[in-house]
């Protein structure tokens, strides 16, 4: 086993032999705030992801509210305005169109980039990878912490876009040019400049202070602190000034925020890959890793290869938006019957579809970035509670790799009706059809894992089952879109909205919830209330189906997504009651999430003390690391003798067999073809 030396030398050398020396003498700031401990960073990602998820959820409620009560005074129906916001912003009237477009654009952006990706990649990756492979920490702990702290300015910039005169980005989460290239009159500048400045200043300050905390070492703690604060404040001010030039309205804040976030993602995944390749404990071969780690490994490759393309797409778009270049704007481009009146800038020669190709080259793999880690988690949880080995462990790994590979060559299925060459459409339809094959393999293997098991029902397990069940619906509805011809009718309709929410809500968010229920005892040393968790599951599962399933029907009728008043169309006005029903369910779904908040916070204080291995699971985080794991994770470096899923092995009396426990013949049994 090779550990890459810590850049700061002494603090982490020979960490395995001196685990006990750490953890006691680390000051508060270094232990909980500017920590390099992967577990603390993971939990930081968890909290920040959950906070953004609350924001994204509230934006979703606004979107649903508008769909239930669109402005339809001409039709004589009673419109109902959003409480509080309406009186504050719109004089008691219903939501204006630009606010609605902003709300759904930001709902998607916040949920995808700042909630789900930080949760499934940042939280799961950071917390679980070293624990599951028996490593004391990440390969490059400092970089790991920097990945978190440099994502904070990205988040702050995304929040700042709400403070702009023209509101936040309103061109959809895809921000297709030329719409995203248009700067609406009066959009520039901030409504609350001081608040915007402070927010960004604090974020950049924290980012620089993190670096200074480790690199300013003059000998005296207090002198170091003062110098660090001074340097960080100056740098933060300079950066905020620089950023405010490039990001002058909501849309440019959006671009710049995601470019920054891309860099932090890369720093994170470089760390994951290095850790998984170099720091597995003795005996932990690649094919003895839990599927969660496998999934995170493959996800990291996806992030590593695709994020630079997103960064390039957004950089080009930001340059266009700043009226410097014209990558995506063609000749004869007008806005409101006018050619743009900007000195020293004449658009022309660009191609709008280029952005779509670049954007989807990242964003299609991104949907697998969001779902693959939760697939791994689902495999872990289903095997644990079915008390059975995962059915077809290697096919599961190959299926993950297959999805990842095919994920790179399907991007243009988002563009079947975009005006690109129809022959290209056929090519991508074929690859898209075939990505359903590895997905099907995974589903059948999950069913195989349940078959003849000895199933224990817990909240985590129910969410895992809900995940499988919802992923099946989302996957099957994907086949409709994969067909170029059928896509003619359902493209850009609510059918797509239904599909994406079955995969991202039913998949990724259920995956995050099951991870919280499953690993909470390890993270916080206390058990969550399982009955409350099961109630939460039943409500979430039922309500999400009631919201998202009817969207298939409205989509089949062609009801456009991204339209704030569908009652303008005679053929869609009839869906008003159905939309109202979905909104009632959405509001209830939002309220029912209070259950997990109560459970989460309540269990921190009043939960039962968790034993080391409450679920009788086999993998290292349960069997080798104490609850809660100290800095350095393991008291003694674990040694692994077989795979992580040897539940119900005939070789031992119990129905579980820790990876660290040596039993004659266990490894051989795992490789038998049965």
């Amino acid at each position: 086993m090779t550990a890459i030396p810590h850049p700061l030398g002494a603090a982490h050398d020979d960490v395995h032999d001196h685990v006990h020396e750490h953890g006691h003498d680390i000051p508060f700031v270094g232990k909980y705030l500017f920590s390099t401990d992967h577990k603390v960073i993971g939990i930081q990602f968890l909290f920040i992801g959950l906070l953004f998820m609350v924001l994204g959820g509230l934006l979703a409620m606004l979107v649903r509210w508008q769909l239930a009560w669109p402005d339809n005074s001409e039709r004589g129906l009673v419109g109902r305005a959003v409480p509080i916001l309406s009186n504050w912003l719109w004089g008691g009237k219903s939501m204006p169109a630009d606010f609605y477009y902003m709300a759904f654009s930001m709902h998607a952006s916040v949920m995808i980039f700042f909630a789900i990706i930080p949760l499934v990649v940042g939280f799961l990756g950071n917390y679980l990878i070293p624990l599951q492979i028996g490593a004391p920490d990440m390969a490059i702990p400092f970089l790991n912490g920097f990945a978190f702290w440099s994502s904070v300015p990205a988040g702050a910039l995304m929040l700042t876009s709400f403070m702009m005169h023209g509101g936040a980005a309103a061109a959809g989460w895809t921000s297709y040019p030329p719409l995203s290239s248009i700067i609406p009159p009066g959009a520039e500048g901030s409504t609350w400049p001081l608040a915007a400045y402070m927010l960004n200043f604090v974020a950049w300050f924290a980012c620089f202070a993190y670096v200074g905390y480790y690199y300013i070492r003059l000998g005296n703690r207090y002198v170091d602190g003062v110098i660090n604060i001074a340097i960080s404040a100056v740098l933060a001010h300079l950066f905020v000034s620089f950023v405010s030039r490039a990001a002058f309205d909501g849309q440019s804040c959006w671009f710049l925020s995601l470019i920054l976030l891309g860099f932090t993602s890369l720093m994170g995944v470089v760390n994951y890959l290095t850790t998984i390749i170099k720091m597995r404990c003795p005996g932990m071969t690649m094919f003895r890793m839990p599927l969660t780690t496998w999934a995170l490994f493959i996800t990291s490759i996806l992030v590593l290869l695709s994020t630079p393309v997103l960064a390039s797409a957004l950089t080009l778009n930001l340059l266009d938006h700043n009226r410097l270049t014209s990558f995506f704007l063609p000749y004869n481009w007008t806005v409101s019957k006018q050619i743009p009146l900007v000195e020293n800038w004449a658009p022309g020669g660009g191609f709008p579809l280029l952005h779509q190709h670049l954007f989807w080259f990242y964003s299609h793999p991104a949907v697998y970035i969001m779902i693959l880690p939760t697939m791994g988690v689902a495999s872990d949880i289903i095997a644990c509670f079915a008390r059975k080995p995962v059915f077809g462990y290697r096919p599961m790994v190959y299926a993950l790799a297959g999805i990842a590979f095919l994920g790179f060559i399907v991007w243009a299925h988002h563009m079947f009706q975009s005006g690109m060459n129809p022959t290209l459409g056929t090519t991508f339809a074929v690859s898209t059809m075939f990505i359903a094959v590895p997905s099907a393999i995974k589903v059948f293997n999950w069913l195989g894992t349940l078959w003849r098991g000895n199933i224990r029902f817990t909240a985590a397990f129910l969410f895992a089952i809900g995940f499988v069940s919802m992923f099946v619906i989302g996957g099957l509805s994907g086949i409709f879109m994969a067909s170029t011809a059928v896509d003619v009718h359902i493209h850009d309709t609510y059918f797509i909205v239904a599909h994406i929410h079955y995969v991202l809500f039913g998949g990724s968010i259920m995956g995050v919830l099951m991870s919280i229920y499953f690993w909470y005892p390890k993270m916080f040393g206390r058990m969550m209330n399982d009955k409350l968790g099961i109630t939460h599951f039943i409500l979430t599962f039922t309500l999400m189906n009631l919201i998202f399933f009817p969207m298939h029907m409205t989509g089949m009728n062609g009801m456009p997504r991204r339209v704030h008043d569908y009652t303008q169309y005679d053929i869609y006005a009839k869906f008003l009651p159905l939309n109202r029903f979905m909104t009632y369910c959405a509001l209830m779904l939002g309220l029912s999430q209070i259950l997990i908040i109560v459970n989460f916070i309540g269990s921190l204080f009043w939960g039962k003390k968790a034993p080391q291995n409450p679920w009788k699971a086999n993998s290292l985080e349960w069997v080798a690391a104490p609850t809660t794991p100290p800095h350095g994770n393991f008291e003694k470096l674990p040694v692994v003798h077989h795979g992580p899923y040897e539940y119900s092995s005939p070789l031992v009396a119990e129905d579980w067999l820790p990876q660290t426990q040596y039993v004659e013949g266990a490894e051989k049994l795992a490789h038998l073809g049965h």
Binding site: T334, A386, V486, I538, N557, I571, D655
Partner: protein
């Protein structure tokens, strides 16, 4: 072993779940009083190529439904059948089965390959159909925030060149300073040439007879059961031209032109007895409509606007109500009451019948939906599509003049 695992009382849990599942449709039925089962399926298809798309949709629907039922049913059965029991101390110790894996890899592969081939056929038939290449009638649709511009090809059946705006480098503007040149170009675009027709007519032989309009928002008019070639362009942002009832959709992209081919299999204009025509139903009036013939055959321009007695009105939003109001206005009745309008409408109908107009073409337009987010006014980007008989279309593009010389391509071959 039971310690950490909670015991669930099955009865109340299942009961609660069933109650929620049962209450939801009941609540929905309560909320949605206008519920119809047909709303929950594809809207009717009125195009020649759409049937194949629907058939493919239905095929995929049944395949996925069967898979869905099998998977979800086995999931539920496994959960019930293999729930924890004290009798079974352990689960079945098995790591997989290569044959089973092969089976459930190959089976979906075969099905999906067949589906991919099938959709290739339908797709190519829709996008690449060359069989009627020379008979196609072109119609150009240009998206603009937030209305559709429609250009009808003249008798030659082909539209000319559009979306070619002056450049700063043009000889005319090159000598001016940048600001003034831009101002001049913008004035020219918004006042004279909003669709960007080439300045020199020689460059644009097909465009000479086109029917275009400076103001966007005209309805799309197409002939029934004739091959149509929609030429799709955009001036500013991405728009999406979607005809739900015709299974037609394509993005309008600035800087490039798209083509979609289809054939409408349902006519909007319906020959209706005059007694059955409601006042607010829109009328299709052209030179074939009795009572609207130039020269006052049957004694009256009854269907013509009295304020515009010389021209024949092809007004795509004409209704009996409007005509009645115009009449009242001509009689100097200011602010007529609803009752007065109704009376005038009755009178108009009676006059029409007296003049021998017993039937008239009425229509309800199909809707053109913009499916691509195109800015603040996106919701108002609603267009209209009117499918008329080929004869009516000929009248329409000849602006109600008799087709004097036979055009290169005959549209008025039937009806």
């Amino acid at each position: 072993m039971n310690g950490p695992f909670p015991r669930i009382r099955k009865g109340p849990t299942i009961g609660a779940a069933l109650a929620v599942l049962g209450a939801a449709p009941a609540a929905f039925a309560q909320v949605n009083k206008r519920f119809e089962w047909s709303d929950w399926w594809l809207p009717p298809n009125y195009s020649a190529h759409g049937g194949a798309i629907d058939a493919l949709f239905i095929t995929i629907f049944w395949i996925t439904l069967i898979v869905l039922v099998i998977v979800q049913a086995s999931l539920i059965i496994f959960l019930i059948r293999y729930r924890h029991s004290a009798k079974r101390a352990k689960g079945h110790f098995i790591h997989g089965n290569t044959r089973v894996e092969m089976a459930w890899t190959l089976a979906p592969s075969v099905i999906l390959a067949v589906l991919a081939l099938a959709s290739k056929g339908v797709w190519h038939n829709y996008r690449y159909n060359e069989s009627e290449k020379d008979e196609r009638t072109q119609i150009m649709v240009i998206g603009e925030q937030f209305k559709w511009n429609v250009v009808f090809a003249g008798p030659d059946g082909k539209v000319g060149k559009y979306l070619q705006f002056p450049k700063l480098s043009d000889p005319k503007f090159r000598t001016l300073d940048s600001r003034r040149a831009r101002q001049k170009i913008n004035d020219y675009i918004s006042d004279e040439n909003p669709l960007g027709k080439p300045a020199n007519e020689k460059d644009d032989p097909y465009g000479l007879d086109d029917d275009w309009d400076k103001v966007p928002g005209r309805p799309v008019v197409i002939p029934y059961d004739r091959p149509i070639d929609v030429v799709l362009g955009s001036k500013d942002v991405l728009h999406d031209f979607f005809l739900p009832n015709f299974r037609v959709k394509l993005d309008a992209v600035p800087g490039m032109l798209g083509h979609i081919y289809f054939r409408a299999k349902k006519q909007s204009t319906v020959d209706t007895p005059i007694d059955n025509v409601a006042l607010d139903v829109r009328l299709w009036i052209d030179r074939d409509t009795p009572g609207a013939k130039p020269g006052g055959e049957n004694g009256a321009y009854l269907l013509a606007d009295p304020r515009n007695a010389n021209g024949l009105p092809i007004n795509t939003s004409q209704t009996l109500e409007r005509l009645a109001r115009a009449r009242l206005e001509a009689q100097n009745v200011a602010n007529p009451s609803a009752q007065q309008v109704e009376e005038a409408g009755k009178q108009l109908k009676a006059d029409l019948k007296a003049a021998g107009v017993s039937h008239i073409f009425t229509y309800v337009p199909f809707e053109v939906v913009c499916e691509e987010l195109c800015g603040q006014g996106h919701a108002t980007m609603r267009g209209e599509l009117i499918v008329v008989s080929p004869r009516q279309y000929t009248n329409f593009i000849y602006k109600n003049e008799p087709p004097a010389t036979q055009p290169a391509r005959t549209i008025a071959s039937s009806n």
